[in-house]
């Protein structure tokens, strides 16, 4: 478990345009700079929002990463919910889902 390093990867990516360039040019090289498990590296290669959420990435970090990947808002919420279904409850970190996976907005229910 290296949630710290996984979040550090995303923190750097979210705030640093040079890291974003590197992400686009050579993702594997960027990944190799961090102490990540195979599962974590794979989640980053795939942009697997659901797994990253279950691994415990703080939503404030994950939300910015999802925006960087160009994922629309309601899709972002759905991908986290799908992650819970596929991989089980959040394993670590501050953020856990406390609701039943429902949408809390009228706007989201229609999507």
């Amino acid at each position: 478990m290296s949630l710290y390093h996984l979040q550090k990867f995303l923190y750097e990516l979210n705030r640093d345009e040079a890291a974003q360039e590197k992400y686009r040019a050579d993702l594997d090289a960027l990944i190799s700079e961090f102490e990540l498990t195979t599962e974590e590296s794979e989640a980053l290669r795939e942009g697997d929002i659901g797994l990253l959420y279950v691994l415990g990435v703080n939503g404030q970090i994950l939300m910015h990463y999802a925006a960087f990947l160009g994922i629309e808002w309601f899709d972002y919420l759905d991908q986290m919910r799908a992650g819970i279904e596929q991989y089980g409850p959040v394993r670590a970190g501050v953020y856990a889902m406390t609701g039943g996976g429902e949408s809390y907005t009228a706007e989201g229910k229609k999507q």
């Binding site: 705030r15 703080n58 404030q60 925006a67 919420l77 889902m97 907005t105 706007e107 989201g108």
Partner: protein, 277 residues
């Protein structure tokens, strides 16, 4: 007396970023009007700088070296770090107040061990308030951060003491200074529960805040806050610090739980300023 304004307002990326998705347009526009009123109130005080007490979201501070409190003393700041099309706020440069910020930091340090920073990238937590309060980005900003994201978090009585220290520091300089605290009350932002709001909890907190009842404001426990108000509820620290800085009663100018698309109960309030001596 050089603190000339104290208030609070909500931040959330949805307030600008998801404005077009919002269906309750009347309520949304009422909220925007309350923010515009807050802008005018600040402008009318002749404030020469604006302190923004924020709860940033891993734009600058991370678990490698997390300060409980940090004050910005940079010449300028870049923001937002987020994709501008997503946040619907253009990337821009915001002027800082290095000399004033340094004098304020020195005075705060008499009682609170604050960190300081000459570099600071603004995220939605500061950019969304500025988008409404200084849309031309022409007022020097002193960003202030309270760690509300990565536990262990500073205890509430310390946030109060920090607010008092900011007040003492503002009153020790000749410049006219406005201060706003920006947080959420109950909310579960950026999680699958985004949009969930505990309105009863919010209203109870706001009642304590508007009475500026120190004992009642500090009578929260983080485990209970997490249960009832979500991890977003930890951001009450910013409101509490500004209440301590203001010293007077508050006037709740706007609150609604009817804009869940913004993922936060939307709040605008100002405080009366009382002398601390």
């Amino acid at each position: 007396m050089s603190l000339v304004y104290a208030g609070v307002l909500s931040h959330a990326p949805g307030i600008t970023g998801r404005a077009d998705l919002c269906e309750n347009v009347a309520k949304r526009d009422e909220f925007y009007a309350a923010l515009e009123n807050q802008r005018k109130e600040i402008e009318a005080t002749g404030a020469e700088a604006l302190i923004v007490v924020a709860a940033e979201h891993f734009a600058n501070f991370f678990m490698n070296n997390m300060p409980a409190y940090c004050i910005g003393i940079g010449e300028k700041y870049e923001g937002p770090i987020e994709d501008p099309d997503w946040l619907k706020i253009k990337k821009t440069t915001v002027p800082g107040a290095p000399d004033l910020g340094t004098r304020i930091t020195r005075e705060v340090m008499q009682t609170v061990d604050a960190a300081y920073a000459e570099e600071w990238k603004f995220d939605h937590g500061i950019m969304v308030p500025l988008n409404f309060l200084t849309p031309a980005y022409d007022l020097p900003i002193i960003p202030v951060n309270i760690n509300c994201q990565g536990p262990p978090l500073t205890p509430l009585p310390r946030a109060w003491a920090f607010g008092e220290a900011l007040r003492r520091a503002c009153d020790a300089v000749p410049e006219k200074i406005a201060i706003v605290g920006t947080g959420g009350i109950s909310h579960w932002p950026a999680t699958p529960d985004s949009g969930k709001i505990n309105e009863a909890w919010d209203r109870d907190f706001l009642d304590r805040l508007m009475r500026n009842d120190q004992a009642a404001l500090l009578d929260y426990d983080d485990a209970e806050t997490y249960r009832d108000a979500g991890q977003g509820g930890f951001e009450i620290r910013t409101f509490i610090a500004v209440a301590a800085a203001a010293g007077g009663h508050g006037d709740l100018q706007f609150y609604t739980a009817e804009l869940p698309i913004f993922a936060v109960g939307c709040t605008v309030a100002r405080f009366s300023l009382t002398s601390q001596d």
